[in-house]
C-alpha cells in the first residue's frame, strides 16, 4: 500500500444556507482554503470525488453544477458517490492506491434545510414495507435508544453526559450550530421530543459543505509539515431492516474498525454519532477506552451537515495530528438509519 495522508481540510457549517442547492458558491471559498493550506492549485489535484444526495436537494443530478466550483475546463478526473463524502474520500484513497494519481480533493455538501430533513430521510427506508408509514429518522433512532435503555446498556444520564460534553466542547468550534454546555440535571429536566430522546439528543439540522485533500508520499510532505498518514481505512454495512440486526451494537462499525487495523493507541476519536446514544454504541464497537478524547469538535450533536459530516469527522481528527496534539487518531463516518453503514479512518503522525 502507498503512504497516503490527509493534508488539507476546510469546512463551512450553518443552520440555514441562503443559496443554491448545488452550493457551488459555498464550495468556492472552501476549495480556496484547501489550496491555501497546501500551497497547491487546481492543476495539482489528480482526482476529485464528491458526496451528496439528489433527494436532499430535491432534484436529479444535483451534484452536477457543484463541480463548477472546481473550475472544470479543462476537464478533470472526477467521480461522485451518493453517500457521505467520507466514502468519496475512500474512493479517492483507492484511486491513489492504484498509482494512477498522487493527489485528490474530496468534498461533500448538503442543504438539509431545503426540506424537512427527518421526513426526507424516510425515503431511505424499505419502499414497500416501511416508507408508506413515513417513519422519520428521529423515531428510528429513538427505538434504538430505548432498546439500549431496556437492556441496561445505558441510561438517560449517560446520554445527557454525552450531550453535555459535546455541547461544552462545541463552544470552541466556530462552525457549531448548537453549543453551550449545561449540566446533566438540567438536560434531563428538558421535555421529551421522541421519547426517550430529547431534542438535544438529536443532531441539529445543518447545512454545510467540507473538503479534504489527500496526497501520497512526498506530495503529502510537500503540502503539510505533519501529514495525517492514513494507516487504516475501511468501511462496512449492515442490513437496513430493524428486525434483523441487533440495534444495540454496530457490527459494521466493529468490522470496519477491525479491517482498519484496530484502534489501539488512538488518543482522539471523532465519531459521527447523530444521536447521543449512538456515540455509546460506536465507542464500544470501535473499542475506544476511557482514555480516548471523544469528539473535541463537539461532534455531530453540535453540527451535522448531511453528506459532509462524516468527512468533517476525518478532517477534525486529522487536525489533531497536524497541530501535534495527538499521534494517533480515528475519524468515523456513518450513513443510513440507526448506524447502518460505518467507515473508520485511522491516522498517525508517523508513517
Amino acid at each position: 500500500m502507498r503512504d497516503v495522508a490527509v493534508v488539507g481540510f476546510a469546512q463551512r457549517q450553518m443552520k440555514d444556507f441562503d443559496g443554491s442547492p448545488s452550493m457551488a458558491e459555498l464550495l468556492v471559498p472552501i476549495l480556496a482554503e484547501c489550496y491555501e493550506q497546501t500551497g497547491w492549485a487546481k492543476k495539482d489535484i489528480g482526482f476529485w470525488c464528491s458526496g451528496s444526495s439528489d433527494y436532499l436537494a430535491g432534484r436529479s443530478f444535483s451534484f452536477v453544477s457543484a463541480i463548477d466550483a472546481i473550475g472544470v475546463l479543462p476537464p478533470v478526473n472526477e467521480s461522485h458517490v451518493e453517500m457521505d463524502a467520507a466514502w468519496a474520500l475512500y474512493e479517492a484513497w483507492l484511486k491513489i492506491q492504484t498509482g494512477e494519481v498522487d493527489t485528490a480533493l474530496v468534498f461533500g455538501f448538503g442543504k438539509a434545510s431545503a426540506g424537512v430533513l427527518r421526513r426526507t430521510l424516510t425515503l431511505q427506508l424499505d419502499p414497500y414495507t416501511m416508507t408508506p408509514l413515513w417513519p422519520d429518522t428521529v423515531s428510528l433512532a429513538a427505538l434504538q435508544a430505548r432498546l439500549g435503555l431496556d437492556a441496561g446498556l445505558w441510561d438517560e444520564a449517560a446520554l445527557a453526559e454525552v450531550v453535555n460534553r459535546s455541547l461544552t466542547d462545541a463552544e470552541k468550534n466556530e462552525y457549531a450550530v448548537r453549543a453551550g454546555g449545561s449540566s446533566v440535571g438540567e438536560l434531563l429536566a428538558r421535555p421529551m421530543f421522541a421519547d426517550p430522546l430529547r431534542k438535544h439528543d438529536c443532531a441539529p439540522v445543518t447545512d454545510g459543505a467540507a473538503a479534504i485533500v489527500l496526497a501520497a508520499g512526498d506530495r503529502a510532505r510537500e503540502a503539510n509539515q505533519r501529514p495525517a498518514w492514513i494507516t487504516g481505512i475501511a468501511h462496512s454495512s449492515d442490513g437496513l431492516h430493524l428486525g434483523t440486526r441487533d440495534l444495540t451494537t454496530s457490527g459494521s462499525a466493529q468490522r470496519a474498525a477491525a479491517a482498519a487495523g484496530g484502534t489501539d493507541g488512538v488518543q482522539v476519536a471523532e465519531l459521527h454519532a447523530p444521536f447521543s446514544h449512538q456515540e455509546l454504541v460506536l465507542r464500544s464497537a470501535l473499542g475506544l477506552g476511557d482514555d480516548v478524547a471523544l469528539n473535541p469538535s463537539g461532534g455531530a450533536l453540535a453540527a451535522n451537515p448531511m453528506f459532509s459530516a462524516g468527512a468533517i469527522r476525518i478532517g477534525e481528527a486529522a487536525k489533531r495530528i497536524w497541530d501535534g496534539s495527538a499521534d494517533k487518531v480515528v475519524g468515523h463516518a456513518t450513513s443510513g438509519p440507526a448506524l447502518q453503514q460505518n467507515l473508520v479512518c485511522v491516522m498517525e503522525g508517523r508513517n
Partner: protein, 387 residues
C-alpha cells in the same frame, strides 16, 4: 507496489423490458447478480465487497436504495459503495469496483447497476421544474436534439446517418436475447418514416425506457488466472466538465476527448481504429454514434459519419459498434453504462453468442452522462496486459 492486474470473471444481466412487473428492485438486481456469480462459479458469501450504481434516486423514489437493498443483495456484513455519476454511472461503478481490486484492497468484487424506470417516469424525473429555468426541456431528447443539429451542420452530414445507426443497432439487438427491443424489419426507410419527436430526432432514433440490471465480478490477477477466459482490464478513464460554460463544445466535448486520450495512453494504443476490434459506445440517440466516433478518436472531426455510412460499424465491418444492440435497444439508465462495459468484456471472452465479433481481442466499453459532460470508459482484452 504497482497496480494489481484485474479482470472480469463473471457477467450477468437481466432481460430488459419496458416494465419488469414480475420482480421488485431487489429481484431485478439479484437476477443480474446471480447470473454473474454463476458465470464466475462463486457464491455471494465469497465476494469481498459490493459496488452498486444507479442514476438519479428520483427514478425509483427511494433515497440511496442500496441501503434498504443491502440484505437482499448480500451486502450486509460487507463494504458497500454507491456510485452516481449520471448516465455514465454504470461505467464509473465498474471502474470503482476495478480500483478496489487494483488497489490491492479486495480480491473479488461484485458490481451491479440497475434502473427500474417503470416505477416512475424518466421524463418527469429529469424535467422536475427548477424555478428560474425556462421549462423548454422535454426530457433527454429535448436536451440533446439541438446538439445533434449542431453536429449535422458542423460535419455537413447527410440527414439519414442517424437512421443507418438505428437500423444497425436494432438489427444487432435481434441477436441479443437480453435486449429490450426486438423490432424485426427495422430499415433506414422505416426509421426515417417514424415520427419526428424532437426535430431532428425521429422516434426510431431514440432509446427506449427500460427496467434492467447488469452485474460483473471483478477479480485480482491470482484469482483471474484460474479462469478460462477472463477479460483483463487494460485501462480505465473518467473525465468531467461543466454542464454549461461559455464556448463549451457540446458536440465534441473536451472531457470525452481527454478521457479517450488518457485511455489510449494508459493502454499503449496509438491507432484506436486499428487496434480496437470492437466498441460498445453509449448511443442513446442514433446520431451520437458518429459524434462519439470522432470524440473517441476513431475518426477525424467531421468524418465519423463516413465510417457509419460505409457500414464499417456493423458487425463484419472494420470497427463494429454496439454489437449488443446498444442503448438504442435497451436503456435501463443506471445500468446502461455497465452493459456497455460488460458487452466489451463478453466480446473479448468470446462469449457474446450470436453478436460475437470474430476474433475480438481488445474492446472498448464507453459511457457518458449528464449533458455530455461525464465520461467513463475502459479497454478490456483477452490477454493480460504487459505492464
Amino acid at each position: 507496489m504497482g497496480k494489481i492486474p484485474a479482470a472480469v470473471i463473471g457477467i450477468g444481466q437481466t432481460h430488459h423490458r419496458a416494465k419488469r412487473e414480475d420482480v421488485s428492485m431487489a429481484g431485478l438486481c439479484r437476477e443480474a447478480m446471480d447470473r454473474a456469480l454463476e458465470d464466475a462459479g462463486l457464491t455471494l458469501d465469497e465476494v469481498d465487497a459490493i459496488v452498486i450504481g444507479k442514476a438519479p434516486d428520483l427514478f425509483e423514489g427511494v433515497m440511496m436504495p442500496e441501503l434498504y437493498l443491502a440484505e437482499a443483495l448480500g451486502a450486509a456484513g460487507k463494504p458497500l459503495l454507491r456510485v452516481h455519476t449520471a448516465g455514465s454511472v454504470g461505467g464509473s461503478t465498474a471502474i470503482v469496483a476495478s480500483s478496489l481490486v487494483q488497489a490491492g484492497v479486495h480480491k473479488k468484487v461484485l458490481t451491479v447497476a440497475f434502473e427500474k424506470q417503470s416505477e416512475s417516469n424518466a421524463m418527469w424525473a429529469l424535467s422536475v421544474p427548477i424555478p428560474f429555468v425556462m421549462p423548454v426541456h422535454a426530457g433527454a431528447g429535448g436536451y440533446f436534439a439541438p446538439h445533434v443539429r449542431s453536429y449535422i451542420r458542423r460535419a455537413s452530414a447527410p440527414s439519414h446517418i442517424g437512421a443507418i445507426v438505428a437500423a444497425k443497432d436494432r438489427n444487432n439487438a435481434l441477436k441479443n436475447p437480453y435486449a429490450h427491443l426486438h423490432n424485426e424489419g427495422t430499415t433506414v426507410e422505416s426509421v426515417l418514416a417514424s415520427q419526428m419527436l424532437w426535430d431532428p430526432i425521429h422516434y426510431d432514433e431514440t432509446c427506449p425506457s427500460s427496467d434492467g440490471a447488469c452485474a460483473m465480478v471483478i477479480a485480482a490477477e491470482d484469482v483471474a488466472k484460474t479462469y478460462e477466459a477472463p477479460a483483463w482490464i487494460h485501462g480505465t478513464a473518467m473525465r468531467s466538465e461543466p454542464t454549461s460554460a461559455a464556448e463549451r463544445d457540446q458536440v465534441n466535448p473536451q472531457a470525452g476527448r481527454e478521457a479517450a486520450a488518457a485511455l489510449w495512453k494508459a493502454t499503449g494504443i496509438t491507432d484506436p481504429a486499428r487496434e480496437i476490434d470492437c466498441a460498445e459506445i453509449y448511443v442513446p440517440f442514433a446520431w451520437f454514434e458518429p459524434m462519439w466516433l470522432e470524440n473517441l478518436g476513431f475518426a477525424a472531426e467531421g468524418e465519423g459519419w463516413k465510417l457509419t455510412e460505409a457500414g464499417e460499424t456493423a458487425i463484419g465491418g472494420s470497427l463494429p459498434v454496439n454489437m449488443s444492440g446498444g442503448v438504442l435497444s435497451s436503456n435501463p439508465i443506471g445500468a446502461s453504462g455497465m452493459l456497455r462495459f460488460a458487452e466489451a468484456a463478453l466480446q473479448v471472452r468470446g462469449r457474446a453468442g450470436e453478436h460475437q465479433v470474430d476474433g475480438a481481442r481488445r474492446a472498448l466499453g464507453h459511457a457518458y452522462g449528464g449533458g455530455s459532460q461525464f465520461f467513463s470508459m475502459w479497454v478490456v482484452g483477452s490477454e493480460q496486459p504487459a505492464n
